[in-house]
Amino acid sequence: MEKILVIGSGPIVIGQAAEFDYAGTQACRSLREEGYSVVLVNSNPATIMTDEETADRIYIEPLTPEFCERVIERERPWGLLATLGGQTGLNLASQLADLGVLERYGVKLLGTPLEAIRKAEDRELFRSLMREIREPVPESWIVESEAELEALLDTAPYPCIIRPAYTLGGTGGGVARDRDELWETGRKGLKLSMRSQLMVERSLLGWKEVEYEVMRDSKGNCITVCNMENLDPMGVHTGDSIVVAPSQTLSDIEYHMLRTASLKIIQSLGIEGGCNVQLAVNPKSFDYYVIEVNPRVSRSSALASKATGYPIARVAAKIAVGKTLDEIENAVTKTTKACFEPALDYVVVKIPRWPFDKFRTGDRRLSTQMKATGEVMAIARSFEEAMMKAVRGLEVASKDLTHPDTSLSDEALEDRLRHPTDERLWHLAEALRRGWTVKRVNEVSRVDPWFIEKLLGLVEVESRLVGLRTEPSAAREVFREALDSGFDLSTVARLSGLAPEEALDSASVRLEPSYKMVDTCAGEFESDTPYYYATREVEDDAAVPQNPISVL
């Protein structure tokens, strides 16, 4: 039985959402399904992937070239899979290759070739490749020393974005509004970058941010797993953004223009596995820019997997050992192949979870450096319901869009909308509650009007619920509307001061949710999966057991 060494995720730090543990665990299982013996190295024992049943042999060792070499020497694996451990795994694999360790022990690097990873991650190589294939990238400058940084201070377009190369979650990056900020943040970024390299680029603040999760196999077959639209416009790190899948405001031409660009990029890089492409889209034209490519399984792909039911890491692992997309089974339907694009018949909302309740003195403003430590994802048949479910899932002080602190002045509120913090969702709602128009909120926040209109709808339901305190006769109608918009019974009761269970007899309104299946194919094919979501609908996909199961 051939052995494969998998590099694990290492420590889970701020800027990650445990996605590499999720991906690594899926990958180990997937490789064992293919008949390989899996050896796992990870420095972090507090992960799922280091559970006994995940791999055949597990080493809890520091993720350094020295320790890894010793594991390789002892285990003599046939292949090394590094594209599932995030940046840590990639950096380690590239060090092992540079040191000649892989060659010495005849270890084959599986998945995306290192060369492709370099092309995607080295800003200059990437930009020249994009120019070659005629994909637009924003005007930018590479800085590799303080002297170069200084020379740029007078010519850079402000505001501009600073992105250090080879760092996790955009550490050390930020927006510079003037030369002082560029100097400060730029110097910090140079220190933090593994190769002391950073990129300064034209700011696309206010443009829409859209992502595509794409896959490619060794034969060059390409698919899109899903696309996602950030509620927060460019300027907020996608890990700190509220993200919706699929995109909501792109027409078919725009959707496929960006999809085609993403596939062209993954094809030209020669990725073998999963890849994430981030694009900035002008809200007023067909213009777009390619912002960044993550040539590996990432936080976004973990989200995309859960949002679509398509197991990206599992499929990426099989691609890494040479299988093609049309040979891999769709594990959800079990009747179709992994070579297809999931069709969603629901809406997915992701909201990041920030640790500011624990780090009370932290700067809560969101920028290009990710500050979230986790995220929640909710699925429903409407945007409103998915949003409200996600808000409840956050387990923060507010269980809905009302905020305990409404004392902000209008000026302070406007500032918060302009420079978003982790509480931006509540600030958007508060502005609408104060009667600001959708247009004004959009101009200040740059959030697409589509999302603001939806939030306005929720704020209006909220106000009708509160209105029941003085005029309870409309309770039936308003309760039904509130439940359909994703308000839960306790919020309905709290806002209205009434008990909805009493006002709504179960004959007229169904109080319990329906359960629908996440089946990757919008119901087109019969599927065999235990993945369901609760939503306000008519019919259940899940068969309700006749005898309720008791849990002791």
Binding site: S251, P283, F340
Partner: protein, 368 residues
């Protein structure tokens, strides 16, 4: 305002009216594309059908002035979970509901479309009706409706008189032709404009002809190649077009898209059959048997070519569907002719198979 969707098997789904008032009947089908409702609404291949969208939020980016695939709304009605009244997109000119009302299209929202899809998936497509009058009227209409397969939809959607399509879009047939290197005859069985736009971008002036055109009339236009377009209805009804195709095979390069592919197959003696619920959406994987590659395609068909019927005939199956193995592409022997069952023109759907248009242009150029 209330509305009802009734299926001929007796199922009634209550909902709310979304477009015009009245009752409308059609074959109930579903499409899984998450974008592209404007293109679907104007795609002639949906004539005579009630189209349910599996994606629950339809109308998010409004209706614009550009993305029309024909001059009118083609499905008899649409079924959605939720229509957006506050669309957001820089090209949006009106809401979906406004558009449907303007065009007099009966539509329904608030339907558990996933429940509907599961019914169609297990029982196959069936006749249905959307009505704002009442549930009984809807049910009766769905049962009294003429069978989809018995209706001549191609005759309803084809162009009445010839026209041309050049660099600037649609033009009179006898307009001084823009200087374009290639001339293609299109037999219009229910054409989507994006076919013409894509070919125009490749330097091809299209001469669009009614489906009743004869082979001699096609030849009189002196085209460099002939395209048989997609279209609605049962391909087995199209004896006349099939005869035209048979005469043109071998004369100039020929290309068939969707219904056009089925016409080519029948021209060499093949047969078609009706699929249980068709392929409609933009995520169908197709394998090219010649090079082993797989492409994600845009599809909209309710019938497929029976591969058995091509045995011993002058046709070779070159592409198959990865999901269900149905025929997705053919090549004819002894004639420069190929057909694809899916839509390289996209609109809506992925752009991955545009290469076939370029290949056909090359063939036409070489044949001059």
């Amino acid at each position: 305002m209330e509305a009802w969707l009734a299926l001929s098997d007796g199922t009634v789904y209550p909902g709310r009216s979304l477009g015009a008032q009245g009752t409308s009947v059609g074959e109930s089908v579903f499409t899984t594309g998450m974008t592209g409702y404007q293109e679907v609404l104007t795609d002639p291949s949906f004539a005579g059908q009630l189209v349910a969208f599996t994606y629950p939020l339809i109308g998010n980016y409004g209706v614009n002035d550009d993305d029309f695939e024909s001059d009118r709304v083609q499905p008899s009605g649409i079924i959605v979970k939720e229509a957006c009244d506050t669309p957001s997109n820089w090209r949006s000119r009106r809401t979906l509901a406004e558009f449907l009302r303007d065009r007099g299209v009966v539509a329904i929202q608030g339907v558990d479309t996933r429940a509907l899809v599961k019914r169609i998936r297990s029982g196959g497509v069936l006749m249905g009706a959307v009505s704002t009058v009442g549930p009984d009227q809807a049910l009766r209409a769905s049962r009294e409706a003429a069978r989809y397969d018995d209706t001549d939809f191609v005759g309803q959607v084809t162009t009445r008189r010839p026209y041309a399509w050049g660099r600037q879009g649609r033009e009179e047939i006898d307009a001084p032709a823009s200087p374009m290197p290639v001339r293609m005859a299109v037999v219009d069985c229910g054409l989507k404009h994006n076919i013409l736009r894509r070919f125009a971008a490749l330097g091809v002036r299209s001469i669009v002809l009614p489906s009743t055109v004869t082979a001699d009339e096609v030849k009189d236009w002196r085209p460099d190649g002939v395209l048989f377009s997609p279209g609605p209805g049962d391909p087995a009804r199209l004896g006349g077009v099939v005869a035209t195709a048979r005469e043109l095979l071998g004369w100039r390069p020929v290309f068939g898209i969707c219904l056009g592919n089925q016409i080519l197959c029948q021209a060499v003696g093949g047969r078609t059959f009706k699929l249980k619920f068709g392929h409609r959406g933009g995520n169908h994987p197709v394998k090219d048997l010649l090079d082993g590659s797989v492409t994600i395609t845009s599809q909209n068909h309710g019938y497929a070519v029976d591969p058995e019927s091509l045995t011993g005939k002058d046709a070779e199956v070159t592409q198959v569907n990865v999901n269900d193995g149905t025929v997705e592409g053919i090549r004819l022997k002894g004639a420069e002719a190929m057909g694809v069952q899916y839509h390289p023109e996209a609109a809506p759907g992925p752009w991955d198979s545009r290469k076939y248009f370029a290949a056909f242009v090359e063939q036409m150029t070489a044949a001059r």
